[in-house]
Amino acid sequence: MANLGNFKLKLSVTQYRIALRVLIETFKGIKQAGIVNIFIVGTMAAILMIFGAIFRTSMSLGSLVGELGNVLEISVYLKPNADPQESAEAIRQMEHIQRVKIIAKENSWYDMKDQMKLPNIKNPLPDALHVRVDDQKYIKSVANEIVGKSYVEDIRYAQDIAEKIRVVSDISHTATVIVLGVVGFLTMFIINNTIQLVIQSRKKEIEIMRLMGVSNWFIRLPYVLQGSLYGIMATMIAIIPLSILQGYIAQVHQFFGIPNSQDSYFMMIFLLFAMSSIFGALGSLLSIKNKLKI
């Protein structure tokens, strides 16, 4: 039993040494790339910064759009013979309705008279309902449905604003997805080419290692780690300008009175680290597959 324990201990010590050696080989590869490292990390940092900026702005825009959309209401003017309570209840039964508020014509008239100098005439205003939808993208379809009801005289809502908000929101989401694809491709392309150069410069070393019985994964792993490390280093640089952007975004949120979530910022950082290291490793794997025959 004791022997088995020792054996396990020895194995783990050997594995630890091999892991350490893999790290040393990784840094040796980075050292060997020399000045090229600066270009790789710099280019990747610029790409990641662009992606981060678009992603963060898109998230912020999403929350702004959400908040603005939430305050958009449909004003429904009822026919003189319509019962406000019954009409409100009928609308509440429809899909995507968040809230229906009854504005009695007496109240509207009172408010109007309070704000303007009006002659003493009979109240000409109709009873009205303020309808809020649960998501601003349904505002148009809900409005179309309401306008066809028999008890409805007319409706008003900021159709243009609602439409523009929806378009901006859609564009920013689509842009994020496209940029993500471009960033992934560029990262893999850059890393792939760099690792190919490193493999080329260490050809002799690799050949000796494989002929002397060094494991395939030991030869390959440093290149994969090198690719990931480039991604991580580039992200660390990209975070600097992105944190400045975060400050500006916070000011915009403050101006509109919309809470600025720190979670979005941390989520962006996490995403950048994860994405750059994964794409970096994939770029390396690609060049290993093409250039490193073991």
Partner: protein, 224 residues
Amino acid sequence: MINLRGVNKKYKNTYALRNVNLDIQKGEFVFLVGSSGAGKSTLMKLLYREELPTSGNVYVSGVDVPKLPDNKVPYLRRNMGIIFQDYKLLEKQTIYDNVAFVIRALGVSSREVDNRVKSALKIVNLSHKLTSKPKELSGGEQQRVGIARAIVNGPSLLIADEPTGNLDPQTSLEIMEILDKINSRGITVLVSTHDHAMVNHFRKRVITLEGGHVIKDVQAGTYG
């Protein structure tokens, strides 16, 4: 130790080896001779699975080499030492690091690496060149570093492909004497060469290849 049975190796339309049958016992010193293109290097590459035979069986220490899965090939090679004609040393690294770097990659402890490297360099009489770079050494010394690297992991088989191809006769003799010394420790040594004088001087087993065929296999033989 080494068994080849009906081995053929064909590159496109040319046969490098034809129906080769061979047995080499543990602890033997064998010269593999023949003119360029006779198939010497191909035969050696089959042993460390750098090449696969077109047909036939290759066994090293009982292992069916062609059938060995790719991920097991490193384990086969760890039991061998390979010496190259062009030395294959890393120019930027010291002699010590050239010998050490492979066993470091195998997870050997620093103290053990130090012991093994120093003892391997002592066998090849290069203990005084630990911190030198390959370019500071003569061709013979560089090949001795190659030998030290090949034996540092304690192989049971040493494969030397034209180890004296780039060396003068006196230096070649020194290299062969080192290989002979290593063989006397029980390590099987297989040397390919077309150096007549060397083969005739040592009087070891000589296997002659011609056009991919084994045409002669003589104990304490000569060449030419």
